[in-house]
């Protein structure tokens, strides 16, 4: 009987293995590679910008060949071609095509632009290519705001409020001041910037419209008015005031100017930053020990505070990444200050910049890059690092020391 049973099972196994003969393979691990793409030149300015954008994202490897056979052998996934035609009257017609080699998808667009808009168009094309091939929204059309401090032969320093393309090029000066400018913060729609100005040697928070240049004071209380941060819906601004003597976090309703105190204790709380859902704030506080600031989270509704960072003697200037799963901050372990990312679920810290004097990290709206200020050969410069720490770039900036860069949201 047992024998018979065995025979039966053996033959039934046979039966089943034959019936389900289609092989199934599960693939969960991918290669940690940059994607090979080929960009065939059609206009030196346009292709130059696109090449630079895609290469600096760390997601792509440019393959320098126009030979389709070489594309195959080098596993090229995307081929970008294009054409540019003068229409007269300073108008240009630009067509571009992305051939997605393996999915046989094609992306084909035609634009009519003025000569001075070519760079902007090139960034836009980079965004489209990036999105098509990686699935993430590109940040090449976004902007970076920063303060440029220039010393002039013993005279007073000049503070310039600059807004540049995400690659550091094409800077525009929004404001020039003889007084310190600090803490630029983009509104979620990318149309306004809040910042701190010490005009008349008094700190005040201003909101300035980027397109028109018009501005207004939103906070000018005695003492510190600092570290403005827009809520995700753009209706509120979190800020730091010293109305009670100690720096505390407040939330200001932009429309009604109603002020609400959020933290209330004997410690110094500063640098508020909103969670993506707008329900809580993370901030820097010395409540865990004087001289050892750490990051805390406060629920706006319940005012319940929880400590987030435990690793390192100094953690400050934290901001959420776009998906809310991690924070990026200034982190000190031992004697070194670095830009670090902390996964909120595991608490694991990844140090992204190992060397140099780095400060003021600001996360790109797609969460893939971080811009920060760094000291390079004794000069404050703009730098970027990818969220995985693999790509680091120094960006061009004007004459002077770069301070407090802020990455804009997506701008439509």
């Amino acid at each position: 009987m047992i024998r018979l049973f065995k025979i039966l099972t053996v033959s039934s196994l046979f039966y089943f293995s034959n019936a389900f003969a289609v092989l199934e393979i599960e693939i969960t691990q991918g290669a940690d590679n940059a994607m090979p793409i080929a960009i065939l030149p059609f206009d030196s300015q346009v292709t130059g910008v696109i090449r630079n954008d895609l290469k600096n994202s760390g997601k792509f490897r440019l393959v320098e060949t126009a030979d389709p056979e070489a594309w195959r052998s080098q596993k090229v996934e995307g081929v970008v071609t294009g054409q540019i035609k003068e229409l007269g009257g300073g108008q240009l017609q630009v067509t571009f095509k992305l051939l997605d080699v393996y999915s046989k998808n094609k992306l084909e667009k035609e634009f009519t632009v003025k000569t001075e808009q070519l760079r902007k168009l090139a960034h836009h094309i980079s965004d489209m290519i990036y999105q098509q091939l990686t699935g993430d929204r590109g940040i090449f059309s976004t902007k970076i705001a920063y303060i440029l401090v220039s010393e002039r032969h013993g005279r007073h320093a000049k503070y310039k409020f600059q807004v540049a393309d995400s690659d550091g090029y094409n800077p525009h000066t929004l404001l020039v001041s003889n007084f310190p400018l600090m803490s630029p913060a983009w509104s979620p729609d990318g149309r306004k910037i809040a910042y701190v100005s010490f005009e008349g040697n008094r700190a005040a928070i201003y909101v300035q419209d980027i397109a028109t240049g018009s501005r207004r004071v939103i906070s000018k209380f005695p003492g510190i008015n600092g570290a403005p941060a827009w809520s995700p819906d753009g209706r509120k601004i979190a800020l730091v005031l010293t109305q009670t003597g100690y720096p505390k976090i407040y939330i200001l309703d932009v429309a009604t100017s109603r002020l609400e105190r959020i933290t209330d204790d004997w410690y110094a709380d500063t640098e508020p930053s909103w969670s993506p859902d707008g329900k809580s704030l993370i901030f820097t506080s010395d409540r865990g020990g004087i001289g050892s600031p750490q990051i805390y989270r406060i629920d706006i509704e319940s005012k319940q505070v929880e400590r987030i960072t435990y690793s390192g003697s100094y953690n400050a200037r934290a901001a959420y990444t776009s998906n809310g799963k991690a924070i990026v901050m200034l982190h000190k372990d031992g004697n070194m200050f670095s830009i670090a990312e902390q996964d909120l679920q595991s608490g694991r810290i990844t140090v992204l910049t190992q060397f140099g004097l780095n400060e003021s990290p600001s996360v790109a709206p797609n969460g893939k890059m971080i811009v920060y200020a760094t000291n390079h050969n004794g000069r404050g410069m703009l730098a970027e690092v990818s969220i995985d720490g693999r790509v680091k770039l120094l960006l061009p900036a004007g004459d002077g020391a770069v301070q407090e860069p802020a990455w804009s949201p997506f701008i439509n």
């Binding site: 033959s11 046979f14 199934e24 393979i25 691990q29 991918g30 290669a31 999915s103 091939l133 993430d136």
Partner: protein
């Protein structure tokens, strides 16, 4: 084991039974020739006791015409002869029966042996097949791992894909491993994940497949599931 044991007991019992019968018959025979009246008496009781129905019905049929003779002596003689005849007949029948039974037993045994043999052969065959299939399954697994590696190394996994997302591809492979067709049989809802999977398969072509045509049959159509759970270590 059980069957073999049962076989032995069966055999022993059979031999014992046959011997017992033979001994009984010899005993009876000797008794009959030794003393007739007793034998007659005992034979008659013997007949009454164990005679087969046929013999019983036969007896009156034979006796009746002879009883017409109506002579006591003749009657007795006839009766004796008859009894003797019957006895011989009975013996013959019994022998026949035993023979039949023995034959039957033999046949059964033969049948059983044949069955056993068939079973054994069947099992051997199944074992062989299982061994062969285990071997070929091992080969299939080996190539499946190689294919998995080849595709994984070409897969540039998009960031930020949900842990639960997956795409199913059905690919057609030609002998030699060239991928003829890549079809999305169930998309992930994430276009970047779908395209990255398709690209990975095409980039990995030709895939490592077995040269043996029988084995290769398993690789003509392959279902691939891409689910970005694996964390890529730098």
């Amino acid at each position: 084991m059980k069957i073999v044991m049962g076989d032995y007991t069966y055999k022993a019992g059979f031999v014992f039974a046959v011997m017992l019968h033979v001994a009984l018959v010899i005993f009876l025979f000797i008794k009959f020739t030794a003393s007739r009246p007793m034998a007659l008496k005992s034979a008659s009781t013997f007949i009454n006791a164990t005679i087969i129905n046929e013999a019983v019905t036969l007896q009156p049929a034979v006796v009746k015409p002879q009883s017409v003779l109506a002579k006591p002596q003749i009657k007795q003689q006839v009766k004796d002869a008859l009894q003797k005849k019957l006895l011989v007949e009975q013996y013959r029948e019994m022998a026949e029966l035993k023979k039949n039974i023995a034959k039957n037993k033999q046949q059964q045994k033969m049948q059983k042996l044949l069955q056993e043999q068939a079973k054994a052969e069947q099992k051997e065959l199944a074992d062989e097949q299982a061994a062969a299939s285990a071997q070929s399954q091992g080969e299939v697994d080996k190539y499946a791992v190689m294919i998995k590696q080849a595709i994984s190394s070409q897969w540039i996994k998009p960031d930020g894909v949900d842990d639960s997302a997956f795409v199913l591809l059905s690919i057609t492979v030609a002998p030699g491993g060239v991928v003829l067709n890549v079809q999305v049989s169930s998309n992930s809802g994430n276009a970047a994940l779908d395209r990255s999977a398709q690209a990975a398969v095409s980039k990995a072509s030709p895939l490592p497949v077995p040269e043996d045509p029988v084995l290769f049959d398993r690789f003509r159509v392959i279902k691939l599931k891409f689910s970005p759970q694996g964390i890529v270590e730098r």
